[in-house]
Amino acid sequence: MPEILNILDNDLGKNLNNDDFNDDDVQNPVEPFLRSDRVPHIWCPGCGIGTTVNSFARALLESKIDLRSLALVSGIGCTGRVAGYVKLDSFHTTHGRAIPFATGLKLANPKLNVVVYSGDGDLSAIGGNHLIHAARRNIDLKVICVNNLIYAMTGGQTAPTTPDHSTTSTNPYGVFEPSFNLPHLVEAAGAVYVARWTTFHVRQLTRAISEAFHKKGFSFIEVISPCPTLYQRRNKLGDGLDAMKDYKAKSKVRNGAPTSEVGMTMTGEIIVGKFVDRERPDYQTMMRAQYADSLGERFVEQSEMVCS
């Protein structure tokens, strides 16, 4: 816990009302992207998800992307709640199935820029099959995987990403299974952009998201994020701030590192960076090319599927 400065309440009363410090014309740059009528959000104090949304919103600003054609899809879990807080066309779908939903959206309206924003359990456990197939097909999706190393929403159960020997509610005596190295998994499956950052790396995360926006194909950005209430607390790792300090101390930026080397342990170093940035034709490009090749003039390009 950070030190609480003892300041007399009546001195503070003025400041708490932000007379000096809150100009009416000062607006948080990310405010236009929030459903302000729903803030404060449900995430715990010290949870990193809000920070990732902050970085995401700043990427929307920096990349100057067309917001009208941006759609955000999430699954179920703490990170899944992101869809409900962003002021975009947003879809809160079923557990593990954000990626196929997003695929349908994208195929029906290729002009959409579709972001999948979900958690590690949602994307790599129940959603694992869809993750690898979408990567294989190189569907043009930007996947932001907030990895808090646990199933948080349901109370702290083991996830495929929970590091060895951690304590969880379903492994009360310690996890003994090996955990997924997500960057390695998605690279092997075929993703064209693979990066990992932590919630400490706010600027790099914003930059990575901006890059993914402008990249065609399956992009996967893993963000290591604290879950103070469950993962941190059960493993006596302190609170969210302690996790952030830990990320700062233990992260090592290795852009271009072989993904086979970036697996995580409970207390070891966290390798971050942009690991993969390659070119491969995306699904729709390949589809059109194949049809054009086989059918020639008989191929009818799917123009507007939108029905009125």
């Binding site: 947003s90 593990g96 196929p100 939903f101 195929l107 309206n109 191929f299």
Partner: protein, 399 residues
């Protein structure tokens, strides 16, 4: 309640998807043509006997019509990919059979909860589990109605010929758009694999219900606000509405709002939008119901076998009426209740061990007896088996 709302807004089919002409094709293929005629330009599927031909045909037709087919990695994916496509602007469907239908249940519930207009085709086969992949049954009828968790309503149609596989698929899409509900298209393996004459008319002779898209401004639009018939107006992603869709219990803004009050309001509306229109949705074929002692209630392929039994019974002088269910859900309770007052008994042959017969019995309310002619599946009934029960039913006293 403006029940004529949709009728006045009907459009003609897009000729690009209409294979006008006289064809000889099986039910699976006719179903695909029905979907194309209805304006569907998106399907996501997964292979499963005996339904696969529907999407195989779609896969070969759609690149020349202007649409997309994607074979997904499993039915869990297929069933939600089509929902995503609907929100992207398409009319979408998927096709499956028993085991796949089971996998799709979560997303049928999601479609009902988010009020996504779409069609799920189930070409029923023997079950449970892997069962009889290449042989018929009608044992998913209750599953079609109750398969997903929670309180929700769906519409289910049962074709009994390849021609109906064409015509009623269009109807299924139209109903899904009118009520913003997933529609279950309950075929069976025989209807799916039998080949008959299928007449596909000209595009301007086919009526298609358009998507109930909002005309409100971005500021005014509320994704789940309704008036009149309890069906909200839809917007698609990419149009600037910045709406939110969730499977959580939600209010008119589409935002999660998890209280008993909001739950009550939402779930009752989802139910009532269908139930209040049940009479309008109900479609059946009736024959010689006036003065009948026994009414045979059947659907799908069994209705064709039952026809033989009915005619044989009439030749013996028995007064037998026919009620063929085209809409299985919402169940036409009112019709059964009215008939029950006047007839001695209902005979319900089905390719299952008793599913729709329970609805008949319930609706009859004890006013008439109900006799099931069950069949575990794997083939169709022997008409003699149905005749035997009709004869037995004729002998009972009016209750």
């Amino acid at each position: 309640m403006n029940t004529d709302l949709q009728k006045t807004n009907l459009q003609s089919a897009d000729p690009r998807g209409v294979l006008t002409g006289i064809h000889f094709m099986d039910g699976d293929h006719a179903c695909c043509e029905g979907a194309l005629a209805a304006g569907s330009r998106f399907a996501a599927g997964y292979p499963i006997t005996p339904s696969t031909e529907v999407v195989e045909r779609f896969a070969s037709r759609v690149p020349m019509v202007g649409g997309t087919f994607i074979q997904m990695e499993d039915e869990l994916a297929a069933s939600i990919t089509l929902i995503g496509a609907v929100w992207g602007g398409a009319k979408a469907f998927t096709v499956t059979s028993g085991p796949g239908f089971s996998l799709m249940m979560e997303h049928i519930g999601y479609a009902a909860m988010t009020e996504t207009p779409c069609v799920f085709v189930d070409v029923q086969r023997g079950g449970p589990s892997t069962g009889l992949p290449t042989l018929p049954a009608q044992a998913d009828m209750m599953q079609a109605r109750w398969g997903s968790h929670g309180d929700y309503e769906i519409i289910a149609l049962c074709p009994n010929s390849p021609q109906e596989c064409f015509d009623l698929t269009i109807k299924a899409f139209n109903l899904s758009e009118e009520f913003r509900v997933p529609v279950m298209f309950m075929m069976d393996e025989v209807v799916g694999h039998m080949s008959e004459k299928v007449v596909i008319p000209k595009a301007d002779e086919i009526e298609v219900t358009p998507r109930r898209h909002t005309h409100k401004s971005v500021e005014e639009y509320l994704p789940y606000a309704t008036n009149g018939d309890g069906v909200p107006e839809i917007a698609h992603a990419g149009e600037g509405y910045n709406f939110h869709v969730t499977g959580l219990t939600h209010d008119e803004r589409g935002y999660p709002n998890m209280t008993p009050q909001v739950q009550d309001k939402l779930v009752r509306r989802l139910q009532n939008k269908i139930r209040d229109a049940a009479d309008r949705i109900a479609m059946f074929e009736e024959e010689k119901l006036d003065g009948a002692d026994v009414v045979v209630v059947s659907y799908g392929i069994t209705s064709r076998v039952a026809q033989r039994a009915i005619e044989a019974a009439r030749e013996r002088g028995l007064r037998v009426g026919k009620l063929r269910l085209i809409t299985a859900w919402p169940f036409p309770e009112k019709k059964i209740r009215e008939l029950a007052a006047n007839v001695k008994a209902f005979v319900v042959p089905e390719l299952n061990l008793g599913q729709m017969v329970r609805e008949v019995e319930r609706a009859a309310g004890g006013q008439a007896k109900t006799f099931a002619v069950s069949h575990a599946g794997g083939g169709v009934h022997n008409p003699e088996d149905i005749l035997k029960v009709i004869v037995e039913a004729s002998k009972c006293r009016k209750s």
